[in-house]
């Protein structure tokens, strides 16, 4: 079985026929993989190099914790990968990005307007939670497609606050609006 696996912008093609011998980008690795009883922790020997990892499954990815560092890993089998390619969708690239509230809180300020260009790291929303003012920042360069909250609003965890997209997408949306109008 062939998998396409992505982590931190890198892509690996991993082929597993027998679990003890896998191919990563065509290169063989001797693997011994042992989940610990009771849970998320597993022991992995890769060419006898010993690693402990903790794995958690999320909506569309696996969280893998190794030596204190958290890796978000997306795994697709070859079939799903080809289907996605045919549809022109690839994981982790492009598309709209929603900035969500990481916790319940109160919106103290919205610093952007729809149509505004933002750079990655720019302050977008000030959220008060845990008695602190928290700055939520743009996770990418792009254009503000939608602002879904206003100053003074109470928001829930994971609620979408602002949607960012590509500049071209913003234009298309605008055109569509003009046509509709």
């Amino acid at each position: 079985m062939k998998y396409i696996t992505r982590v931190n912008g890198k892509e690996y093609e991993i082929e597993i026929d027998q679990e003890e011998q896998i191919l990563v980008n065509g290169e063989p690795y001797a693997v011994n993989f042992q989940p610990l009883p009771g849970g998320g922790t597993l022991s992995l020997l890769i060419n006898n190099r010993s690693l402990e990892a903790t794995v958690d499954e999320r909506r569309e990815a696996y969280d893998v914790l190794i030596h204190g560092e958290l890796y978000t890993v997306q795994v697709q089998d070859e079939r799903a990968y080809r289907l996605a390619q045919a549809r022109g969708v690839s994981l982790g690239a492009g598309g709209d990005t929603a900035i969500r509230s990481p916790m319940p809180g109160l919106v103290l300020d919205v610093l952007v307007e729809e149509g505004e260009e933002v750079e990655s790291g720019e302050k977008v929303v000030i959220l008060e939670s845990m008695k602190m003012e928290n700055e939520l920042r743009a996770s990418r360069d792009g254009v503000v497609l939608r602002v879904l909250v206003e100053k003074g609003a109470s928001v829930e965890k994971d609620q979408e606050l602002v949607v960012l997209g590509d500049a071209s997408a913003a234009e298309e949306e605008e055109e569509a609006y003009e046509v509709a109008a």
Binding site: R6, I14, P35, G40, L42, L44, E52, D56, M103, M130
Partner: protein
């Protein structure tokens, strides 16, 4: 001579008006001294360690602190109900509220802390400044409180920038704003007033000159009710973000024995000026020329007390309890020697790669670091939910070594071993800091984390290994496809469930 409104008396049962790791820490000291413990808990904390480890536990209200851990009437009532004859406030919550200490006194309960008037004097920044100044302690230049915005703006121009806007009732960085240019001052005053009003119900602010390249160095004190005050040396707490400390160590890289004794003597004088009893800390700003200025006094046990415990061998919480029972300190200043080096990393549920945003959720898996020189003070467990009701600190990881180098190496190893899943933690921040040249050479100040330290140059080392792990997990899950359900429809993840299912077979 016992200070006014402070009850100093033998007691046998202690109500701990707190939660989390500090409640557990206090229980440990109580058990060591043969004292019974009474825990209190909100709806969010029924299964928390501080409840499970206590001799007795009482429910006090819903999760918001204002309806539970801050309810003075409920706490006094539980003390009566349980027969507790003393209350330890821990840190945060009611620890530095003079009215709580007074309420304990009025209810004939021993308050394990300083007298109400000392809390009040040190809690009001301006009174504190005036009091210690009169005792000969150097203070940072600043304005009086109660000024109108335009008066403050005029005063700021006279003092020169940069300056700090600070809340009179503030603490922990709340209601505090640095201002570098005159044009930003009006906004900063408004923001600080707003935050101070929300956090403390008091929007009063004042200005203080900002000491550039300042280090935050503090002196730990212990005082008994017989007039003895001893300092336990310094802690270096410069590594902070938005005035929240992240890493503390003892001793400090820049303090030598002569400076230690000088700062210690000044700290003792400041405490004596308010008839201090119990554990307390005098915080100083230290400039590039090693001149130090009084910043504030914390009239409580502090989060970072363990580093001092490790280098002095003094159990500070135990001494707090003994002193509250009327005992004399069992040592004099000459008995206190710092030996070795200790470092503490505060492990918070925060994402260091996203501007330290708090991360809430259930801890789905946890394994703890152990081994020589490692101490972990924690209040969480597998299945614990990090909620927005309380602060984001999960635990304090403390490493001890004969030298700073040994402490750093032990800490690095412990951070690698420490695995927490379900919420994001700032462990990668600590790892990155402990590998940085600036940290290793001791070259940092209170602005370092915010202005000159970045996570973006951190290279993840195990991309390939993580990819292999996740793919093998996906592969096995695929083979067990009939057993897999949608995420969230079982109380544990598919992967964990798979592990358990496999074991049962």
């Amino acid at each position: 001579m016992t200070p006014e409104n402070l009850l100093v008396r033998k007691f046998d049962k202690v109500l701990i008006a707190n939660r989390g790791e500090i409640a557990v820490r206090i229980q440990r000291a109580c058990h060591k001294l043969g004292l019974k413990t009474v825990a209190v808990f909100s709806d969010a904390d029924r299964t928390a360690p501080h409840v499970r480890y206590a001799d007795e536990a009482y429910h006090i209200g819903p999760p918001p602190a204002s309806e539970s851990y801050l309810r003075v009437d409920r706490l006094i009532e539980v003390a009566r109900q349980s027969g507790a004859d003393a209350i330890h406030p821990g840190y945060g919550f009611l620890a530095e509220r003079a009215h709580f200490a007074q309420a304990c006194y009025d209810a004939d309960l021993v308050f394990i802390g300083p007298p109400p008037h000392a809390i009040e004097a040190m809690g009001d920044k301006q009174v504190a400044r005036a009091t210690v100044k009169a005792a000969g302690v150097p203070v940072v230049p600043g304005t009086e409180p109660g000024l109108e915005d335009d008066e403050m703006i005029a005063a700021a121009e006279e003092m020169g920038f940069p300056i700090l806007v600070k809340a009179v009732a503030g603490g922990g960085g709340k209601g505090m704003r640095p201002v570098h240019r005159p044009a930003e001052l009006a906004d900063a005053i408004a923001g600080a007033r707003r935050e101070a009003l929300a956090s403390f119900g008091d929007g009063e602010v004042y200005l203080e000159k900002m000491i550039r390249d300042a280090r935050h160095i503090e002196i730990q004190l212990l005082a008994d009710a017989h007039g003895n005050i001893v300092h336990l040396g310094e802690r270096e707490c410069s590594l902070q973000r938005r005035h929240q400390k992240l890493i503390e160590e003892a001793p400090s890289f820049v303090v030598d024995e002569a400076m230690r004794q000088e700062m210690g003597a000044v700290a003792v004088a400041a405490a004596r000026a308010v008839d201090y009893v119990s554990a307390g800390t005098i915080e100083f700003l230290v400039d590039r020329d090693k001149k130090f200025y009084f910043l504030e006094m914390n009239t409580r046990i502090q989060v970072e007390h363990p580093v001092t415990e490790l280098v002095t061998g003094v159990d500070i919480v135990q001494e707090q309890l003994r002193v509250a029972r009327g005992r004399r300190l069992p040592f004099t200043q000459d008995d206190i020697q710092m030996k070795g080096w200790a470092i503490e990393c505060r492990v918070n549920a925060e994402d260091p790669y996203s501007n330290f945003l708090p991360s809430t959720g259930v801890i789905s898996d946890i394994s703890l670091p152990t081994g020589p020189g490692i101490r972990l003070d924690t209040g969480v467990y597998e299945g614990y939910e990090v909620t927005p009701y309380y602060d984001s600190m999960i635990s304090k990881l403390i490493a001890y070594g004969e030298t700073r180098g040994e402490a750093v190496l032990r800490m690095r190893r412990a951070l690698e071993e420490y695995s927490i899943m379900g919420v994001k933690t700032n462990i990668p921040f600590h790892q990155h800091m402990l590998e940085s040249h600036r940290f290793l050479s001791g070259q940092f100040d209170t602005r370092f984390v915010e202005e000159r330290f970045s996570m973006t140059d951190r290279e993840a080392e195990n991309d390939l290994e993580a990819a292999i792990c996740a793919t093998l997990v996906a592969h096995r899950q695929g083979q067990q496809a009939s057993q897999i359900v949608a995420p969230g429809s079982r109380d544990t993840t598919n992967w964990k469930w798979y592990g358990r299912w496999r074991r049962m077979r």
